[in-house]
Amino acid sequence: MNWDGLDFTIIGPAFLAGLLVLSTHVPLGKEVLQRGIIFIDLAIAQIAGLGVIAANTLDMELSAWQTYGVAAISAILGALLLHWSEKYWKQDQEALIGVVFVLAATLSILLLANNPHGGEYLQELLTGQILWVSYNQLFYILLLYIPLLIFWFISRNRSHSMSFYICFALAVTASVQLVGVYLVFASLIIPALATNRVKNLQLFYAYLVGIIGYGIGLVTSSLTDLPSGAVIVWSLAITGIGWRWVLTAKG
């Protein structure tokens, strides 16, 4: 046991970051499950990374804001591509997403082949670390997520493919840089998966699973002094399984 890390000023911002990520990812995850395109976040994140790497290869000096802009634009282009492919090859959509992921990932390697910073750079883009977040960063994410959420919940045609893909691209590009690919994937899929049999208030229960998962994960990571991101992924999964188990026991 390590009581040093259990300090709200340390895990507090991380918990808030988790709440923010959950706010958009739980409803998006529900949609992802319905469409059966589980790995879309990996593909979109990789394409966003590819865009930033391409901009760097072209010798553009990017500020933090511009980096997000380039990443978001690439992610949206990737999302439009996937939206288009869903229209024509709906049956093959999941496989195509996989192919897009490996193509984007390997193209990044090829672009970085002559860049001595290569590996580090690639890793930086995909491994945001939840403990390092600052209130400042959270504020910007909030500015992005509030309009996204308003759009998502008010818009009547949110299941319209195009608006889903664009919302998804914007939300994921921001969250990946904040908490990293693993947590983004877990936040999308696990709460939605754990509650997809629930008929009433599914979204509410999915949020609950996510919040409990992040809370337990952060406290456990503090007590055991293990890397927070990985511990939260596991506690999300265990919370999700626990939830399913309670439901089956009841029903």
């Binding site: 709440l19 290569g118 590996g119 890397p227």
Partner: protein, 321 residues
């Protein structure tokens, strides 16, 4: 629901924080060392007056570390921070310092020590052209493999300890003097042992041995992975192997924290002995402090240099025919 959860957690966090603050110990100087070589050095110079926390182990790559809650907690309570500097920790140290918000160890304060600031660095890029540029614009940061540079850093660090903890200044002075005496004697011993290895050609995995090369006179004839993190191309590897036929090396060096796969691949093709060096304190079971780190490095190098390679016999056969 969000709000109630948040408030509840804040309350719990606050309660824990209050109980923790009341039991802090004040007896020792809290030191946060980014890498174990500096933790070991502070321990030598501070003895029982310091309590050292190492942020990374000898088997971790200090370029990247996973964020753990204790890192921030320890940085928050540190009186002294010692890191390599020269951009080695650039990926995480600024974030950690910002999160810790501890004025004792912010850049510019006397508790913020970057070891590479006290020594001259090798491999400083002449131009900062991005396409050719080195990973580290400030120069190569891996200075811990040169015992003379360690001595310079120890001197500066001893003075810094006296400044930060003036009540125990005499203690640090004695400790520093004692360390220097033992260190200089040890260097003499290592150099005598390494004398026969002067000019021995080696292959390095990555350019992180230049300080060891400068000190020992080992001569690198090839680098297996010139760009960190990006695998070498097929063309590069084939040139490397033909190059090694014309200009044979004696051993292949790689660091314990690095993946051995590419070095093994080359060793299989060239029949050169592979030497895994600890690279820092904790990089091997025996390298428990700075003295043992160099003892073991010297022993491993000597041992490897005495292995007759099959390639050598083949070459001499070829020559006699």
């Amino acid at each position: 629901m969000n709000n109630i959860e948040k408030k509840l957690l804040r309350a719990i966090g606050l309660a824990v924080l209050l109980t923790l603050n009341s039991v802090t110990t004040l007896a020792e100087l809290n030191v946060f060392a980014c890498e174990p070589e500096w933790g070991s050095l502070v321990q030598e110079l501070g003895g029982d007056k310091v309590s050292v926390f190492n942020a990374t182990t000898g088997l971790q790559d200090p370029h990247h570390i996973q964020a753990r809650p204790s890192l921030i907690a320890k940085a928050r309570r540190a009186d002294l921070l010692i890191c390599t500097g020269a951009d080695l920790e650039v990926g995480w140290l600024p974030l950690l310092l910002r999160k810790a918000g501890n004025n004792n160890i912010q850049p510019g304060s006397s508790g913020h020590v970057m070891a590479t600031n006290f020594v001259t660095l090798l491999d400083q890029p002449i131009s900062l052209d991005r396409s050719e540029g080195d990973v580290h614009a400030a120069g190569n940061p891996h200075v811990q493999m040169d015992p003379y540079r360690i001595a310079v850093i120890a001197e500066a660090l001893g003075i810094r300890l006296q400044q930060i903890d003036p009540d125990n200044a005499e203690h640090y002075q004695d400790k520093s003097r004692d360390f220097m005496k033992r260190w200089q004697a040890a260097i003499q011993g290592w150099q005598q042992q390494l004398e026969p290895l002067q000019g021995m050609p080696i292959v390095v995995h990555h350019k992180n041995w230049i300080y060891l090369q400068e000190w020992t006179g080992l001569k690198p004839v090839a680098t297996l992975e010139p760009k960190a993190g990006i695998p070498p191309s097929a063309d590069y590897l084939s040139k490397l192997i033909t190059g090694l036929k014309q200009q044979p090396a004696k051993i292949i060096l790689f660091a314990a924290h690095q993946n051995s796969r590419s070095s093994k691949w080359l060793a299989e093709r060239t029949n050169l002995p592979l030497v895994k060096l600890p690279f820092t304190v904790g990089g091997s079971e025996k390298a428990t402090n700075l003295f043992e780190l160099f003892n073991e490095t010297v022993q491993l190098l000597l041992h490897a240099s005495q292995i007759e390679t099959k390639d050598d016999t083949r070459n001499s056969d070829g020559a006699s025919r």
